[in-house]
């Protein structure tokens, strides 16, 4: 895929910003042994509320959820930042964000204990970030700016 210079800068900036957000969120959780998603999950709403509450109340499931969440965020962030396995990272990130969205959907009539930082109707920032990852997935840039370039160079994939 051929990008204009501006287009490439835009894609790389978007990728790095999203990666930054994922990586930092993930590492903060990894580094805090007391961190748990329990309160967040208990505060779920929408049609999958029961499933998320079940995750929160089942301590074995919760441990797995917490581990996958913290390390998932970190590794997805790392892949976007370094530009390696970027499409897989973007796809996994979209899945993770979909879970966040489904646990706290911005549907009218649902209220959460934890306050939101704005006013949303169906589309919220989680969903916007999910769509940002969709762009990153659809328009790869890691083979130009990122570690994937080394493979690209070896296999002589044209820019």
């Amino acid at each position: 895929m051929k990008y204009s210079k501006t287009g490439l800068v835009a894609l790389v900036v978007l990728r790095l910003a999203t990666g930054w957000h994922f990586f930092y969120e993930g590492m903060v959780k990894v580094l805090n042994p007391d961190w748990t998603s329990k309160a967040y999950l208990l505060d779920s709403g929408g049609f999958l509320k029961n499933i998320f509450e079940w995750m929160a109340l089942n301590s074995n499931v919760l441990q797995v959820v917490d581990f996958l969440n913290a390390w998932g965020l970190t590794l997805i962030g790392l892949s976007l930042l370094l530009g390696i396995f970027c499409r897989a990272g973007a796809f996994a990130g979209m899945l993770l964000l979909l879970f966040y969205y489904l646990s706290h959907p911005a549907f009218p009539g649902i209220e959460y204990l934890f306050p939101t930082d704005g006013s949303y109707f169906i589309i919220n920032k989680t969903l916007v970030e999910l769509f940002a990852l969709f762009v990153i997935f659809a328009f790869p840039s890691a083979h130009i700016i990122g570690l994937e370039r080394f493979w690209a160079a070896k296999n002589k994939i044209p820019e």
């Binding site: 790095l16 930054w20 930092y24 505060d43 204990l113 700016i145 990122g146 080394f150 160079a153």
Partner: protein, 521 residues
Amino acid sequence: MKKDEQKDKKGISRRDVLAGLASLPVLGALGYGLFLHTSERNKYKSGLLKGVKPVLPSGIPPLVEGPVLRLGVVGSGGRGMYIMKALGFVRPERIDDWEARAATDKYWRDYLDEFMAQEQLNVRVTAVCDVFGKHAAQGIAAGSNLYRNGQSGEMADAPRRFLTYQELCASPDVDAVIVATPDHLHVPVALEAARNGKHVYCEKPLSWTVEETFEARKVVRDTGIVFQLGHQGRQTESYQVAKSLIEQDVIGKISLIEVCTNRNDPNGAWVYDIDPEANENTIDWKQFIGPAPWHDFSLERFFRWRCWWDYSTGLSGDLFTHEYDALNQILGLGIPHSAMASGGIYFYKDGRTVPDVLNMAFEYPERDLTLLYSATLSSEKNRGKSIMAHDAWMELDETLTVYLDRSSTRYKDQIEQGLLEPNKPIFSYVPGQDKIDAITTPTEKYFAGRGLLYTYRDGKAVDTTHLHLREWLNCIRLNNGTKPSCDIDQAFEEAITAHMGTISYHEKRRTFWDAINERIV
């Protein structure tokens, strides 16, 4: 052209290397950010927990081994049946009902599971006494259900119904008596039991009059029975944690404590349903009246007895005592120097004589603090318990949260260094957790401030009444002078304090406790 030739030779050009590693500096920046975050957090946490070693509840105490204890229940109405459930005895109809609900409703599934998981306390209910035939029958049905079965299941021997509490207390088939009568009969029944050598678990408040409070203390002490007052709050984990934090001077000098009651429904205001089967033939009215002034038969007075001073101790005895006993447990307050009360019947103008709004101030000059109680039966604004001190304040319910005071002396340096944030929660304890958290993330701060009750949702909370009864039974079985946590001395302090408030309300003046002569003046 030259570059392309180079690339063909080596595969990877210098340009490739630069573009490939272009984002690495970003990782460096993030690493620095994480370093800042972690060191802030660690400083904050160490600043908080330095030197503080909260005593955490050690779980459910094991049951002391011993012979089966035979219990007599006096009063098998609402509270009496609840106590029997906490002992493991429920009417078979109820079990069937719960099972039917549990089939479709998770709440009832958890409720039923929790009850079934409750440990057997090695007791039998051998005697029941209630002045209302239907209540006596339900007590007998529950008492027979040793194996927690539905109606088609096996039952154990039915408890014997006694028509008077005197006969029940005299029965050789009873080792200990549960008193769950209206307030005006607590002491008469408890003392009848004690004089017959039976151990007593008595619902709160201890007494209806000041005089009988002294008599109760004397008889319980003289007979040496094991006495427990039914303040199950003694088993609330967060109170035990609060006590240990305060003893370690985490919040500093306490000057004011505010406790409250807020209810806003007829049931909470003691307007209970009147049973259609109740009438002069099914209720032993004379026995119900007991020491109270005579009044003609009244279904309203029988079922809603809490609304009349003739049988009740009002907000002070009925609900303030819960709050008082919690604080007496945490701070060892004892009897106050003085009490001042005011209030009125402002919402429930239904013929009741006890107020539905009550405010009381108790002074403890030797402790340099005031205990404030404020209650209404017509607003549900939840105010919780607040213990206000110079360095921090503590908010207490099932959960515990400590907020740092901006002008604290003790934490001045840490606040100036930015290690601690004033007016924010710094400690939280949620029942079921095995640790106290120093609160660090914004999410934790938010939820700690709101006191989200994990254990309620968990459905794993152990009934505090069960624990309170268990403690009493353990003391009986130990038989070595070990006293339960809410023994007769604690009960005495509870009752006198409540009476001081009530007398102040009636006489519209400040009442004082003459500690030397032990009397209210």
